[in-house]
Amino acid sequence: MLELPQQLINGLWQGAALALFAMGYTLVFGVLDIINLAQGATFMWGAFFAFICVTKLGWSLWFSIPVAMVGAGLLSILLDRLAFKPLRSLTSGGLVLWGGFIVLLVGMVGKWAFPVKTGITITGAAVMLVGFVLDYRSIRPLRIREVPHLAPIISSIGATFILVSLAINEFGAQVSRFPANLFPVKPYHITADAVISPIQTLVLILSLALMLVLSLLINRTQMGRAIRAIAWSERTSRLLGINVDYVIAQTFFISGALAGAAGVLLGLAFNRLEPTMGGEVELAGLTVIIVGGMGSIGGAAMAAFLVGMIRVLSVAYIDSSFRDAFVFALLILVLLIRPSGIFGRSKAVRA
């Protein structure tokens, strides 16, 4: 029992990081009713954005974290335009965007000499920019589709593959790490036996702060009102004059920025960045949003702490081999007793 305080700290700070990730996840689900499985890849790229800022550009960590969040947010918007929007409503701009994206990929992955490679990459990026603007300005899509629920899931899995492959191409499959001494390592003593390191403290504080900001954003601002309106009914919102595409882009930005923040923080805490790092948190995040109630932001935050604690306590008092088994047992239990999740409500009430 002596190690209980330490185990609670372990569970708490990891739950906090998981909450950041899961809130963005559940936000997109709440608004669009799609599960964005590429959230894990956005998480990974967020970590690598900060990595580039710190190692290649030599920026300070405090500046790199917001930059990485913005980077991940923009990536998330792009992801929406490439993987999800064409499924909702296809525009000619969307097709141009896709064409540019393919050219960009060819430019990034191909093995040509310096001017050719850069030329193709820049051309691709320019075409994408044009496509993006066209797509945004288009009033009447080529067609509005009613695609099955499975389609966005599949296209987000595809997006994950592309993003992970690009990261492997860029950084290699091995583990990268932030330079040592970026952050003090001397732990603070809570009790004689329980310690928390400065980076874990940062994770905890920053996560709680971002949770507060998010809840204010959703509940107290015009933008939050628009997001909630679209979650309730996209068609009605359109009739009321809400710029639905713009609000969806904002939603993806917030979701991506949160995932990016979680990526940087966990990357820093474990000092281990690799292209496949999104996989584990992806699965944990999925459990969290189902347990918390799909689309419920507060529920996701609470469930994240619950899952964090269960993971830690099952190791501490039962057996480390069964850690994930306990998490999924919780998932099944919740689904059996309350299929809408612990904090889940019906769609109308949720909005």
């Binding site: 040592a180 310690v195 474990f270 281990r272 496949t276 993971r311 306590l313 850690r323």
Partner: protein, 385 residues
């Protein structure tokens, strides 16, 4: 009745006898013109794919050894011709490479393949063709058991770990330990089995056995539990990346420096100290070879390797380098480039001077030489004293 005399099986048997006779005569013809011209030796390394990091140092070291042997005139008028194939770190690649080497290049012996997994798929081909195989990096069980033409110069985990435990126990006097291992990987699980047996044999109490999964990055729950049990040492069977995470998190949670992390072959990577930084200080592991060994020819090998490739050799390079010398020695003793003669000569190797130390094969074609125990000091592996 007359027709029966030349029945089909009989004809077939006669044919076989004829072919066998031709085979024997051609083989003896080869040995008559022995050790002149080129002696083709195959090498199968993982030069691309997951194990490429090991394959490249094996390729470098084997080329270095062949150059040295050909220059020194060790084989008289004979020259070794090394034919290197890439198995892309896959079983299929290894099978294709073995086929090609045996049928197309008619090699007299094969070095490799890099991975135990590939060896299990490809070695039977060489066994069937009676071409000796010398594995230089396979440490899993069930390799030499595949047949009497399969040898290895790489010590298995089962041989290295007991030595590590014995030496560290003698010096540190620990009585109770905790174990942490990856339970979803053949290699780390195998390392755990070897450690567990060694610990039981030497009467060391195991306080707790904790597990983790491949690609886990958080070990704090397991380590907190271990910390509460106050072990004298922590045994870790993990690959370098996970081991680095375990060490940094363990030290951060306040496991004192007097409790060392002791590991298996997975620790044998410069990456460990690189990733874990100061937390890797004092980590102990067993190994087949150490760069600062004072074994015969080791210094010259390290210097020659560094000069030629601009990097220090690792254990995999040393074992591949030794492998070429073992084959050359067997060819010289056999006085022939007949694969069976080479196999027989190789099986008799005793107390040969190599960079790994005094080297012998036991009755099961397993290597016999003393492993070393090393410790990380100032970010580098040095001999544990």
């Amino acid at each position: 009745m007359k027709a029966r005399f030349f029945s089909f099986p009989t004809v077939l048997m006669l044919l076989f006898v004829c072919f066998a006779a031709i085979d024997v005569s051609s083989a003896s013809a080869a040995s008559a013109s022995s050790l002149s011209g080129e002696i083709p030796i195959g090498a199968v390394w993982s030069m691309t794919g997951a194990a490429a990091v090991y394959g490249s140092s094996q390729k470098n070291a084997s080329e270095l050894a062949v150059d040295e042997i050909n220059k020194s005139g060790m084989l008289g008028a004979g020259k070794i011709k090394l034919i290197t194939e890439d198995d892309r770190s896959t079983k299929e690649g290894a099978i294709t490479a073995f086929d090609k080497l045996i049928k197309e290049y008619k090699v007299v012996a094969i070095l490799g393949p890099t991975l135990s997994n590939s060896a299990k798929a490809a070695d039977p081909i060489a066994q069937a063709a009676k071409v000796p195989v010398l594995a230089v990096s396979n440490t899993a069980g069930g390799i030499v058991e595949m047949g009497d033409f399969i040898f290895r110069d790489s010590l298995s985990e089962m041989l290295v770990q007991p030595n590590t435990i014995r030496e560290t126990k003698n010096k540190l006097g620990y009585k109770k330990v905790a174990i942490l291992y990856g339970n979803d990987d053949v290699f780390t699980k195998g390392g755990y089995d070897a450690f567990k047996k060694a610990l039981n044999d030497q009467g060391i109490q195991i306080l707790a056995t904790e597990t983790f999964n491949k690609n886990d990055s958080d070990f704090s729950a397991q380590l907190t539990k271990i910390k509460g049990l106050k072990p004298d040492a922590i045994i870790v069977s993990a690959l370098a990346e996970e081991a680095a995470g375990i060490m940094s998190q363990g030290r951060q949670l306040g496991i004192p420096d007097s409790v060392p992390f002791i590991g298996g072959n997975g620790f044998n990577s410069p990456k460990l100290a690189q990733l874990a930084g100061p937390a890797a200080e004092g980590a102990i592991t067993g190994a087949a070879w150490l760069i600062s060994n004072d074994t015969p020819g080791n210094k010259a090998f390290v210097e020659a390797y560094h000069k030629k490739f601009g990097a220090n050799p690792d254990q995999f390079a040393a074992q591949a380098y030794t492998g070429v010398y073992i084959l050359a020695n067997a060819i010289k003793t056999a006085g022939s480039s007949n694969p069976t003669a080479i196999r027989d000569a190789m099986a008799k190797i005793k107390d040969m001077d190599t960079v790994l130390g005094k080297f012998s094969f036991d009755a099961h074609r397993e290597p016999v030489h003393s492993p070393v125990v090393q410790i990380i000091k100032n970010g580098k592996f040095v001999l544990y004293k």
